[in-house]
Amino acid sequence: MEKTLPNNLKFFLTIVLIFLIGILLFLANNKASEYVILILNLMAINIIFSVSLTLINGITGIFSLGHAGFIAIGAYVSTLLTLSVSQKEMTFLIKPLIYPLNQIQLPFLPATLIAGLVAAGFGYIVAAPSLRLIGDYLAIATLGLGETIRIIANNAWSITNGALGLKAIPPYTNIYWSWGWAFVTVLVISSLVKSSYGRALKAIREDPIAAKAMGINVFSHQVVSFVLGSLFAGVGGALWAHLITTIDPKSFAFSKTFEILIMAVLGGLGSISGAIIGASIYTVGLEFLRVLESPFKIGFISFPGIPGMRMVVLSVLLIVLMLFWQRGIMGRKELSWDSVYALVAKRLKKRGGNDE
């Protein structure tokens, strides 16, 4: 039997951990360079994206490739709500923005919430027809869905300003917003997954027919999971738009979905803690690899910097990783205090054994 820790100790440790992360973020916000703060923001937003995709893909087993579409909806909706009226007039040169969007300006929090809700509502509308499909067909349908949203954004000039995109978005996103939302996302999704409802979602992933034979309403469970995932994708999109301050339809191409899929698969599809680890490694790793794009030296050999080189190296790294670590870093396991404790206990035991 494996050893387990008492529940209130685990709760205490979790509170301490969250508190420590909070202090670190506070320090970073005050002392670190703008570049580091940007990366920390991106990391939190990527955690939101990959955890929400993990709920849909990894936990419920709906192979969705439309995540970028919901991110786009969140980004556009929130931006249209936070841009000032005069800024909107300046931006929409080719066709004016339709009423009532051209008259409203909202603070960041309600704009983010509405962005999430609109993305969720859209998720609800598209979930019903696409979830009638299974496997590859569902993947293709959601892929088409994501692309459709992008193409609509490209052509609906009076709402999205078409290919010109939206600029001068107020940079509201800071460490507290992004990490606060990341915390909410992880809290909501992981408590859902831990509940018996989450167990039903996993059962659907494992075997939809057997899940039906257990009296689970497979369709409604899938819809709930899809809608919740879309909601957080929309929120993440809102945060992202207000971080990089300029969006256009190209930002939400299929490669965006793919990027998130890489994070989720890297961490282990089906594990929330894996999704967090995957998003963190991907965000930071991509920045470290920037070295490759400026001239550098290894020993006596000097390399010219080639733009785009980091993506090549990253791809090779991912292929190697997938060859040797097929289920990702965490597989379907979750990081818990028990598993940390078991690991530490094992290490100590080993050391004890050596002493004898």
Partner: protein, 242 residues
């Protein structure tokens, strides 16, 4: 035991595209009985169970459960109204633990106290599962998986338990064990509809049997009478008739 009909199937048809898989079958399952449906590969046995629970679409006919018309009721509602299906090939959840698998059976139930009682009951029926509660379902042996599938079905607290080929791929000793457990379950007042290729074992414990051949019921009688019928012996029991 009352002789009330629990499940009544009237003239049920199923089409797979152009293939007429079930050509109007009628079955009665009486309360407290073990009723078996035997037949060769492709006769339509599994289709019958899937059509009852609406996992495949019926193209005609009616199904009544305790006099309620469940012809068009959705699968999860049928299961929650008291029919459990233990599907062919076990279909346990491989990456959930044995305990989680069992609790999935009780998913739609709210009464924690009686769930715990039922858990104790299925664990006394299948003591081997008790030792493996924390193990992942996929790591069990074939026989243990079959037991888990039956136990999981029982956790829905069914009035009618439908078993699809519970002996499939099991060693003879295990087959005997599974059939003994089926009888024990019946003694607890659960009505059983048993679909089997292993006609001998099924008919031995059945009160009543139906023989299905290419989508039609060709014979029906008590288990004893079917066992001694020449046609059944020749076709399904492999006994040469001189």
């Amino acid at each position: 035991m009352s002789n009330q009909t629990v499940l009544k199937i009237q003239d049920m048809h199923v089409h797979y595209g152009n293939i007429h898989a079930l050509k109007g079958i009628s079955i009665d399952v009486k309360a407290g009985q073990i009723v078996t449906l035997i037949g060769a590969n492709g006769a339509g046995k599994t289709t019958t169970l899937q059509a009852i629970t609406n996992l495949v679409r019926k193209s005609g006919g009616k199904v009544f459960f305790n006099d309620y018309d469940i012809t068009h009721t959705s699968t999860h509602q049928i299961v929650n109204s008291g029919i459990a299906l233990v599907p062919e090939g076990r279909r346990i959840f491989p990456n959930l633990t044995v305990y989680e698998n069992l609790m999935m059976g009780a998913y739609a139930r709210k009464d924690t106290e009686s769930i715990r009682k039922d858990l104790d009951w299925v664990l006394t029926l299948f003591p081997r599962l008790k030792e493996r509660l924390k193990q992942l379902g996929g790591t069990l042996s074939g026989g243990e998986q079959q037991m888990l599938a039956v136990a999981r079905g029982l956790m829905t607290r069914p009035k009618l338990l439908m078993l699809d080929e519970p002996s499939l791929g099991l060693a003879p000793l295990l087959v005997r064990e599974v059939f003994q457990i089926i009888q024990k379950i019946r003694e607890e007042g659960v009505t059983i509809l048993l679909v089997e290729q292993n006609a001998l074992a099924a008919l031995k414990i059945a009160d009543y049997g139906y023989v299905l051949e290419t989508g039609k019921i060709v014979m029906q009688d008590t288990g004893q009478n079917l066992l001694s019928s020449d046609n059944v012996r020749k076709a399904y029991l492999g006994v040469a008739i001189a």
